[in-house]
Amino acid sequence: MHSFLQILKKLDTKIDRTGERLKDRKVNFYPTVVGPIVFLVFALVAFLIMPSQVKVQQQAATTARTFPILLLQIMIVGSVALLVTEIVKILRKTELEVVQIELLTEIKALIILLMLILYAILMPLIGFIPSSLLFSVAMLYFFRIKKVSYYLIIIFSALVIGLIFRYLLGVRLP
């Protein structure tokens, strides 16, 4: 137990140091250019796989493909229109909208996402209540909470929520 706590402490300082290092790292990001490209690619891929994914059974005024095609067209036209205005801006040498993305924030978001995925994977394996306990404690650790009382509150809450769900409400949980 004791050595485990020491490992935790070491980990703590390591995380702090990494955080410190990444703190001011920023990446330039052009949402007005990237955004339309993302939607354009999405729509084109959806178009490309349509023949295998949506079968047309009869020749009628409208088919199963009519609406998806219309919607993808709107996305393509919209994205191209947005891109054109950006290209015009580049040609006119007016400044593009730049957003500075903090690397640390994005890495943290990724860590939260990983924790969520892990939670979802563990749920059917070890059960809802144990995985919820692990997740909530991990989340507090993520927020760098040192107060023991917080951990006690969260463990208690997770337990109570799980028990109410399972036994009082009779909800089926993994």
Partner: protein
């Protein structure tokens, strides 16, 4: 911090032991060793769900262990039936099934997503059967098939159905083929909306269960034309309505709901469950409910359920 970790550890271990216990070998003779779960793969509040929950109240009395009635929805029941394959034979989980999953789904678009087949299950008992009825907009004054045939001369009829690949749709197609009339199906999102469409005159006809059209027929806004059964019906709401069988058509089947176990389940267990449900179906409370929902007790066995599934499949395949 130390206390927290310790507490977490204790809680996790205690849960671990709870979950590790149980899961012993199933003894066929003393089955059920634990509560039996009966899964209804259709909506909460529907007929099958209510039958399931009412029946479940007799579980402890008849099986010695409680019956837990639950629902698992998705893809018209096909998700639950897919997941059910994870059960081993002799498991304590049972599931409802019907012709929709075994006769229709394997033959229509999307069948490549379905990973189960009828042979993966062991039918135990059919609980009830419901008869479909064709109703018409009252202003057309069509009350039997002969009048319908006369009306259909040189016209394309529009029939409102619940879903384009549901039982109602195939019954409509099969009947139109037998009568040699021209009709087009209009799919609505639910039997109630299909009936409403006919009542408003948006379509001329609708097909639904007897109970679903009850209100509109009683209210005099829809006329019953014919029921999709061998013989006619004669009850408070549907007075002397003939069955399509009486006109020489074979375009009929009833909607059924049967209990299934995983294939390979011991005959002793099947017999035990069947016997329990036969008793349940005899209870006066069930009879009263069945009457109000206009469904019939119909305790078919494996052979007749097999026949039902293949009959419906044949009608579906002939009318794709």
């Amino acid at each position: 911090m130390k206390k927290v970790l310790l507490l977490l550890l204790v809680v996790l271990i205690s849960f671990g032991t709870i979950f590790a216990a149980g899961k012993a070998e199933v003894d066929v003779d003393t089955w059920p060793q634990e509560a039996v779960t009966v899964i209804c793969p259709w909506a909460v509040g529907g007929v099958a769900d209510i039958v399931n929950r009412k029946a479940a109240t007799y579980g402890a009395e008849l099986l010695g262990k409680p019956i837990l009635a639950t629902n698992e929805l998705g893809a018209g029941g096909n998700v639950a039936l897919t997941n059910f394959l994870k059960n081993a034979p002799n498991s304590h989980n049972l599931i409802f099934g019907g012709e929709g999953a075994f006769s229709i789904a394997p033959n229509v678009d999307g069948s490549d997503a379905i990973q189960f087949k009828y042979g993966d299950f062991e039918p135990i008992i059919n609980l009830y059967s419901a008869i479909f009825v064709l109703t018409s907009d009252v202003s057309l004054d069509i009350k039997d098939l002969d009048a319908l045939k006369a009306y259909a001369q040189g016209k394309k009829l529009k029939i409102a159905v619940n879903g384009i690949a549901g039982s109602e749709a195939f019954l409509a197609k099969a009947l139109a083929k037998d009568l040699g009339i021209n009709m087009e199906l209009v799919s609505y999102n639910g039997a109630n909306l299909a009936l409403d469409a006919a009542a408003k005159g948006e379509t001329e006809f609708a097909i639904s269960h007897q109970s679903q059209a009850k209100g509109s027929v009683e209210g005099g806004i829809l006329n019953p034309v014919v029921v999709f059964d061998e013989k006619g019906v004669n009850n408070e709401v549907y007075k002397n309505v003939k069955g399509v069988g009486e006109y020489g058509s074979s375009a009929f089947f009833r909607n059924r709901c049967f209990i299934l176990a995983r294939k390979g389940t011991d005959q002793k267990i099947i017999d035990k469950v069947r016997k329990a449900y036969l008793t349940i179906l005899d209870k006066p409370e069930m009879a009263e409910f069945f009457k109000s929902m206009m469904i019939e007790v119909d305790p078919m066995d494996k052979a007749s359920i097999d026949k039902h599934v293949s009959t419906v499949a044949a009608i579906v395949k002939a009318n794709l």
